[in-house]
Structure formats: C-alpha cells, structure tokens
Point group: C2
DNA sequence: AGTTGAAATGAATATTTATTCAAAATGAGG
DNA sequence: CCTCATTTTGAATAAATATTCATTTCAACT
C-alpha cells in the first residue's frame, strides 16, 4: 500500500511491457507488487493516464498507453531533439536541460506535446530548458519519461 | 438496414467528426441514418475497426479512431508521399496509383502501415502501385481513406 | 495537536460493453 | 432452385468498467 504517484508509474510500466486485458488482471499484478487497491481506483487511474483498451489479435482486448501526438513526434523531430540534447541536471525538484544553442524551444515543444503526467510543464530559453516535474516525481521518473518521448536519449542518459 | 461495410464506413465517419461517448449514443445516430442494428453488432464493429475509448476533458470518455502508426506517418513521410503522388485510376475494382519515378514503394508502405480496412493490400513497382480494395468498397471509399492517410492529397483528388 | 479543505479511496451499484448461443442471411457449387 | 458452409446478426446474459456516495487520508495552517 504505497502512494498514488508510485502506483501510476507502475501501471504505466506494466501496461507498456505486457498485454493486459482487464482491470482485474492488472489489479492482481499490482497486488503482487504490494499495491493493494480496488478496481474503482484502477478505473480512475486508467482514465487519468488516458490509457485505452483496444482490440488485439489473440488477446481479445488489451490496454494501451496513449500514442504520442503524431504531428511533432516524427522521427525527424526526435532525432533533432536527440542531437540537440546536451545534458540534464536536477536541483530543488526542478530539472534543467542544457541543449545546443537554438535547440531549447523545439525540444521543449516536443516534451510538452507528449504531455507526460510526470512533467507539468517546461520553459525554454535558447539553450536551456527548465523542466517542472509533477509532485512526488523523482529524477528517475523524469528521465524515464524523457526516454519514452525521445528514445535516442537512452544512450546519453545512462 | 443496409449492409455491414456501409455501416462500418458510416461509423468511421461519425466517430471522426463528433464526440461519441457510448455505444447507445452511436446506435441512435445510426438509426437516424436508417441503420438499424443492436448494441451487440456495434460492439463487434468497434472491435473490428480498432476504435477505442479514451478519457476526454468534458465528455468523460469518447471513442477515437486508431492513430496512424507513428513511425512512418511523420509529416515528412506524408509530404514526401503527397509530392510523389501523381494520380489514381480504377479498373475492375482495383486501384492503380501512378507516382513519380521511385516513389511507389515508399507511398505504398505508408498506405500499408496505416492499414485501413478499406484496403486489403498494395503492390508497388517503381512508379506504379496496385491498390487492392476490400470487398464492397467503392472508389470513393478508397479515396477517402487515402486522404485520411495523406491529408495533402485532398487537393489533388477533387 | 486541532481544524479545515482538498484529494484519494473503497463498497456498492449503475452503466456500459463483450460474448454466448441460436437464428437468419449470404454465397458458392451443384 | 436446393444444399452446405460461412458470415452476420439479435436477444439475453455475462463480464467489465465507471460512478456515486460516504469515509478516510493528507497537507497546510493555525
């Protein structure tokens, strides 16, 4: 029985890594990890995360994380972002991303458009982005979320 | 009371043009257009179309057509496709797209990756794509479907 | 610590959606 | 125009999910 934020993160990770076809099923997996909640709560969590159920050949229906918005998520935008990304540091719960000159606003836009719940918003200058994480979100969570948005960052970040 | 294929097309068009939040609601709209079916059938249709329900600020939940796969749907790929597209003609239920030299296979891949139910598959040469429509799909349906995949085609096609 | 307002949660329930099972409809050969 | 096989459908029901309403938890102030 831990807290909501942690639970949301675990739900995201479970859904992205395996095929889940009902809330009951997910509930049991959460129990296995010592999250004891009810279906009602799970229903609200999935709504919050904008998770959706979709037909799947084989499993009938499975849950799926929301797709990143198509417009700004092209491979081009991503590799542009990956190229311009220099580093990220944290201080006082805030993240500071350094980019190559001129890259900050496009990278920030990419992050904003993905709208991960881990990040409330960003503010970009020319080569610096301030990342404002949600409450109770750790540095690790922020980084995981960024890697989801810009997969190519994986190399630069571990 | 008309046929399944027609019904599927209407469902797609309704869902893409307005916010629907339950099958009952959609059922009524279909009735208004003289499609008299039951919720059971609708449930199967939505599964077939891979339509999914997702949280929506305001309406609670709404139905949503599946997103086009992200990888090949970048603006770049689309405008590349739009640029290379020359024309489409139909003969014996088959569509033949003419493209600029070399464009056929990338355009065909874009269509295949969107996987619209209106089109069973494509075969591409260098500057020609054979488009094999599903049964009972009209030329108009194929074209609508192509425009959904490559919005910029709208100009070239009407 | 005590108070207050907001957020999170569970139990029960309402609502919605999927499936089962039998019946029609459709289509391909004879 | 008859089979026979397949597909589509509806009615009823099962299963899954969302919401209501009351309660608890939590954080921010006294």
């Amino acid at each position: 029985m831990r807290n909501r934020t942690e639970r949301l993160l675990v739900i995201k990770s479970i859904i992205s890594s395996q095929k889940i076809s009902s809330q009951e099923e997910l509930l049991k997996l959460l129990e296995a990890k010592n999250f004891n909640y009810t279906q009602a709560t799970l229903s609200r969590d999935l709504k919050f995360l904008k998770v959706n159920k979709i037909a799947d050949p084989g499993k009938g229906y499975i849950y799926k994380l929301p797709d990143l918005p198509v417009t700004e998520t092209s491979e081009i935008a991503e590799s542009h972002a990956a190229k311009g990304f220099v580093s990220i540091q944290f201080s006082n719960k805030l993240g500071v991303i350094k980019t190559l000159p001129g890259y900050a606003s496009s990278i920030a836009m990419l992050i904003d458009s993905a709208n991960p719940f881990e990040i409330i918003g960003t503010i970009a200058g020319d080569d610096t982005i301030l990342v404002i994480p949600n409450e109770n979100i750790t540095e690790k969570d922020v980084i995981n979320s960024l890697v989801l948005i810009i997969p190519e960052l994986k190399n630069k970040l571990d």
